[in-house]
Subunit: 303 residues, 2 copies
């Protein structure tokens, strides 16, 4: 049984990835920084602060994994774009992968971001569209992917670099597009879409987790966009959400400027090399997300 | 008086940089990992292992510098191209610069390499020619430059990234082109140039040190090629050296294959923005280098 070590296993994407990895036959080991043992007893948990060198060393030895799915990083909006801690996550990741490779690990799936691409190009194609360093987050993620691929090529470790596009679903950060809109409308507050004509690629988090599990189980190396391949105008997405919630009267949609008007993913590698396509119905995924955030919003309203 | 902290101050380039920095009015502080205090009393020396986090912190506090000229890295041929220690130097550099910026440092000159560029393009122009990840050394250097620029832009620290091309001079690694040829001919051994038709940009190390001092004193930010701007065929360089040593009969020059036939530097930023051009006469520089390596070669011959 192939053993996979998942960092960020209790995060937005990681919590959904566990079942998909198990369904593909992996024995899953998860990492948590929390002192409290997670309730999910279906996997083996390891406690580690990944920014601590000793913790990393102990973790890699204890997990003795074949595959590393590395999701952990600092990603709290809006500060994460420029927080210097991005550099510590870069350093910690390089060290973690080296320890993992030296311990006998065979395959690494790291997670990058669509923000690595120069968005002035619109369509983002792996190894074709130039990368950009518009933020420290994007710069450190891009650096991480490039260095890990160079290291892996010599260390005999397969390295895939999943570039996640725009995700939505339960457990997201509440300040992001879908959660902030749903919780505002749930509270009967007006909501403004500032870039209605801008096109983005949104993927349901459950699908993203399934794609990462498929990538982990595949031999594909190098950068791979993880996205739906179904670009949508933000104004259309906002109108859909407002309509489903019956609160279109609370929503104002502005067109937005020309800069970064389109950020779409080339998903040919994901479809044809990894062999994965989204499985969740987009409408049902959006309905589930709205229900989850509506309930969360109601719980957070002061009594 | 502006204080500059020079890492790698006893290295191939660093040892030449000190006088040029002093000539530009800097108060120079140098870093050495050696336990023995260097003999040069004209600058203030700090002892530090830059791969040690505590040493870095103490160094930055003790030096209290305005400018950081960061030359230290692992660069021992041929292992340095793929040694995993490149990743530790990347991490150490990011941490050093962050400590320096948080301590009040204002300007960083980091040192990259022409190997960052994709050599299939021939001419290397900053911010135009694509970068490549053909080795871990090149990949970590490129990553370092990109991340430091993104960090500096927010931290209020000016970051210049000097991409050094091919250097020659005293104190180089003896396995490199010029030293290996001179010491072979000095020992009356045959020497073979494998890529005689290949074009490279060679700069005398004294000039490189002067260019770095000029860059440190300038406000120029971003990547800057540090090169002579005078491309030369390796076969012509070899014939020049052999002629000066009177040992052309020992030298065989092969043309070499088409791959990476030309690696030349666009020096417009160096000339027009930094305002620096090579000062040493190329023939005299080569003569001095031959004398130094000939003497070194004679000393190393077993008695």
């Amino acid at each position: 049984m192939t053993r996979v070590l998942v960092t960020g296993a209790r995060g937005f994407v990681g919590r959904h990835a566990i079942a998909h990895l198990q369904a593909r036959g992996f024995e899953v080991h998860g990492v948590t920084a929390s002192a409290v043992a997670p309730e999910d007893g279906s996997i083996r948990w390891h406690r580690a602060d990944l920014l601590d060198a000793n913790d990393r060393r102990q973790l890699v030895g204890a997990a003795a994994a074949d595959v590393l799915l590395h999701l952990a990083w600092y990603a709290k909006p809006p500060g994460y774009w420029h927080d210097p801690v991005n550099m510590r996550w870069l350093s910690a990741t390089l060290d973690l992968v080296q320890l993992f490779a030296e311990r006998g690990g065979r395959r690494v799936v790291g997670t990058g971001t669509c923000a690595e691409y120069d968005w002035s190009h619109g369509l983002c194609t792996e190894r074709v569209t130039p990368l950009s360093a518009a933020s420290l987050y994007a710069s450190t993620k891009a650096a991480c992917g490039e260095v890990l691929q160079a290291y892996g090529a010599r260390a005999g470790v397969g390295v895939a670099w999943a570039r996640l596009f725009f995700l939505f679903g339960p457990h997201d950060d509440p300040s992001r597009f879908v959660p902030s809109m749903v919780t505002a409308l749930e509270a009967n507050q007006p909501w403004r879409c500032h870039s209605g004509n801008h096109v983005r690629d949104f993927l349901y988090v459950e699908d993203a987790a399934a794609a990462l599990a498929a990538l982990a189980a595949s031999p594909v190396e190098g950068p791979v966009n993880v996205a739906s391949g179904r670009p949508i105008r933000l104004g259309d997405l906002a109108a859909d959400i407002a309509g489903r919630m019956g609160r279109a009267h609370l929503v104002t949609i502005e067109p937005g400027g020309p800069q970064h008007a389109s950020v779409t993913a080339d998903v040919r590698r994901l479809h044809h090399e990894v062999g994965w396509r989204p499985a969740c119905d987009p409408g049902e995924a959006l309905a589930r997300t709205i229900r989850w955030w509506s309930a969360t919003g109601r719980r957070q309203v002061p009594a």
